[in-house]
């Protein structure tokens, strides 16, 4: 009992220091003094907490869930994009100063266990696992094993699991439980001709046989079964039919949940955002939102910074599309292909720690898809020269490749050389640098997070 007032004083002092800054430092300090602070602060939330993890789409999915729940009057506590380890979650709880109803946290896939053990969330959304930053996270199987431990742990015994039926590695996590809420895409008209080069986890985790795919929808996501019969895609209760992708603008689909069916248009492009929307719809369903609230929230979600956001550089529109791993990059490239005519690209490859020091992944991304459609590609960033070689071997004629490593000079070169809209494909730290640059030039929205 003596620890309680001490924690309260610590929280008070730290949250005053935290102010409105976007750092996870106050949370880290708090956790050093009170390692169980996340558990104790989140236990006070009247509606508990929900956690989201995935390789791709965490930030966008959290934004969608927020767009669904906030209009209902639920006061959400959520962590800022990127601040998704324990320190970031603790900081968010500190900042809230006890004024929130429900915690909504995106959590780094590698550190999920530690956060969930404390958070004991009401609902846990595990949306996808793709090859990503092997130098930081290790192999995909390692992450899957860690997630299995989370799912099997006593701290999630009361947690509603929300899983992607179309990702075999993720769907398999729920085999031993009977209350999993699965989501997936039923419409197979957008199926790819086969697995892409970057496809992962295509072998049954139980018997090692390669899965048979009846339809590949995105990376290794799709409709699959194991030939030995020990794993099949679960039937999703939240699903999309009749998917219609409209370039880099939006995506429409018919959403079904246990409550019924609605046609939904999400103002974010590509099949990957249909998956994000389904994940958000399923999590919101698990948290008690109505189908009307879900449909309305998805229709009005604003893009997170760099995720299909369009800004105007003078007269020229520039659409920012974050790329950070092969699966995500491939979906961005597929979405760009839906645009008409030739495409001007500003591609920025950094190798800072948050990007992954290893830039191998650009050879797994299918830049070949766009090679014949590019009017010009300006390569920038700390590894610009290697990105340029990737473009050349993807089939882009060398005379259409411009290399300007420094970001600001690269942006100006790309803008000067563009004939139509410019599409910027930055890696994570490049996207943050671009945000600062645009903000200095007065074209950034102040609410970008």
């Amino acid at each position: 009992m003596r620890a309680r007032p001490a924690l309260a004083r610590t929280v008070g002092a730290l949250s005053r220091r935290a102010g409105r800054g976007g750092t996870s430092l106050p949370g880290k300090l708090l956790l050093r003094m009170a390692p169980d602070a996340i558990g104790r602060l989140s236990a006070r939330l009247p509606q508990g907490a929900a956690a989201i993890s995935a390789t791709n789409g965490k930030t966008t999915t959290a934004a969608m869930v927020s767009s669904i729940l906030e209009p209902t009057g639920t006061r959400l506590i959520y962590n800022r994009a990127g601040a998704n380890m324990a320190g970031g979650v603790a900081t968010a709880l500190l900042d809230a100063r006890g004024r929130g109803d429900l915690g909504l946290f995106e959590v780094d896939e590698f550190w999920l266990g530690g956060v969930v053990d404390q958070l004991r969330p009401r609902a846990l959304l595990l949306a996808n696992l793709f090859r990503d930053q092997l130098d930081r996270y290790g192999e995909l199987e390692t992450i899957a094993d860690r997630w299995q431990d989370v799912v099997d742990s006593p701290s999630t015994a009361q947690t509603r699991l929300v899983l992607n039926a179309d990702d075999p590695l993720v769907a398999d996590l729920g085999r031993a439980r009977d209350d999993v809420l699965y989501f997936g895409v039923q419409d197979t008209s957008l199926a790819l001709p086969g697995l892409q080069h970057a496809a992962d986890s295509t072998h049954c985790r139980r018997c090692g046989q390669p899965y048979v795919y009846d339809a590949v929808l995105l990376g290794h996501l799709g409709h699959y079964h194991c030939p030995t019969g020990d794993a099949t895609r679960p039937q999703p209760a939240v699903f999309a039919d009749a998917v219609q992708l409209n370039g880099v603008r939006d995506a429409a689909f018919t959403l079904t949940t246990p409550a019924g069916t609605r046609r939904v248009t999400v103002p974010l492009p590509g099949l990957y955002n249909v998956y994000n929307a389904l994940a958000a719809a399923a999590l919101a369903t698990a948290l008690g939102a109505s189908l009307e609230q879900i449909a309305a929230g998805l229709a009005t979600v604003a893009p997170a910074f760099g995720r299909a956001e369009t800004v105007h550089m003078g007269q020229r529109p520039m659409t920012l599309l974050l790329i950070k791993n092969p699966a995500g990059a491939n979906e961005v490239l597929r979405t760009l292909l839906l645009e008409e005519g030739e495409i001007d690209l500003f591609a920025v490859l950094n190798d800072n720690i948050a990007d992954g020091r290893d830039v191998s992944w650009v050879w797994d991304a299918d830049f070949e898809l766009l090679a014949e459609r590019l009017a010009r590609v300006t390569c920038s960033g700390t590894r610009a020269a290697e990105l340029a070689v990737r473009m050349k071997y993807a089939g882009v004629p060398a005379e259409r490749i411009v290399v300007v490593p420094e970001l600001e000079a690269g942006l100006d070169a790309a803008l000067a050389g563009a004939t139509g809209p410019l599409y910027a494909l930055p890696t994570y730290t490049a996207m943050l640098a671009l945000r600062d640059l645009l903000s200095r030039r007065g074209v950034a929205r102040s609410s970008w997070a």
Partner: protein, 240 residues
């Protein structure tokens, strides 16, 4: 018409570090020079004909997949690869593929037998994974040159008394983190931890592989300005 026939082993499983980039570089550079490039994959259960290919490529894989491949190699491919190596064909292993070339590698507390094409074995030791940009100095007969790439391996590869390293570590970890050596070379059997993929950023080595495997005296010059810049950058990030 000159020809380069490449056999990619387990392209569906041993591809973790974008190994297709290495194959793509070979393919494009052959095409630009009018060399007939053929690529065939050989996965689990498929036998290979040592006569039918000039270069055998083995990439890296996840632990579980690498173990599946190790077992399959012994059952269906070892004799053919040994015959190919003895006949002077190029056998090129990267990362996990490099470990498979040796007598054995350790996975947890188990020892998984390998091809035994070269005199080495890979063990686990206390200590971190060896991760980072790396540059090595090699001499394949045309004078000293540099290979630059990225390494990421838990295994420590110990060369036997009859094995020659591929090169000397200039920056980075190499085979063990302390031996000062990287990779292995036995005639045209080459193994290395450098991925990244390796060939796009070391275009001279891509051409050495093409020349050696296709048994061509020389290759026509290409416009390699972008590739030259990428090589300089890869060396620079590796600390040179």
């Amino acid at each position: 018409m000159p020809q380069l026939r490449v056999c990619a082993l387990y392209p569906d499983l041993m591809n973790i570090y974008a190994d297709r980039g290495n194959l793509l570089v070979l393919e494009r550079r052959c095409a630009w020079r009018g060399i007939d490039f053929r690529l065939q994959g050989a996965s689990l259960g498929e036998e290979i004909d040592p006569e039918a290919h000039d270069l055998f490529y083995i990439g890296g894989g996840q632990d579980r997949d690498q173990e599946l491949c190790a077992q399959d190699m012994l059952e269906t491919k070892r004799d053919a690869l040994a015959a190919a190596a003895d006949a002077g064909k190029v056998v090129f292993g990267v990362c996990g593929g490099y470990q498979l070339l040796g007598h054995a590698y350790e996975l947890g507390d188990r020892e998984i037998p390998g091809l035994g094409l070269v005199d080495l074995r890979t063990v686990r030791e206390e200590g971190p994974r060896l991760i980072g940009n790396v540059a090595i100095e090699v001499d394949l007969g045309d004078g000293v040159q540099v290979l630059a790439g990225f390494e990421n391996h838990a295994g420590r590869t110990l060369l036997g008394s009859t094995a020659q390293p591929l090169g000397r570590v200039l920056h980075g970890h190499g085979n063990t983190g302390s031996s000062g050596f990287e990779g292995v070379r036995r005639d045209n059997v080459i193994g290395t931890y450098l991925h990244g993929p390796l060939l796009p950023k070391n275009i001279w080595f891509a051409d050495w592989l093409i020349r050696t495997a296709a048994r061509l005296g020389s290759l026509s010059q290409l416009d390699d300005r972008l590739e030259a810049d990428a090589h300089v950058l890869a060396r620079r990030v590796a600390g040179m």
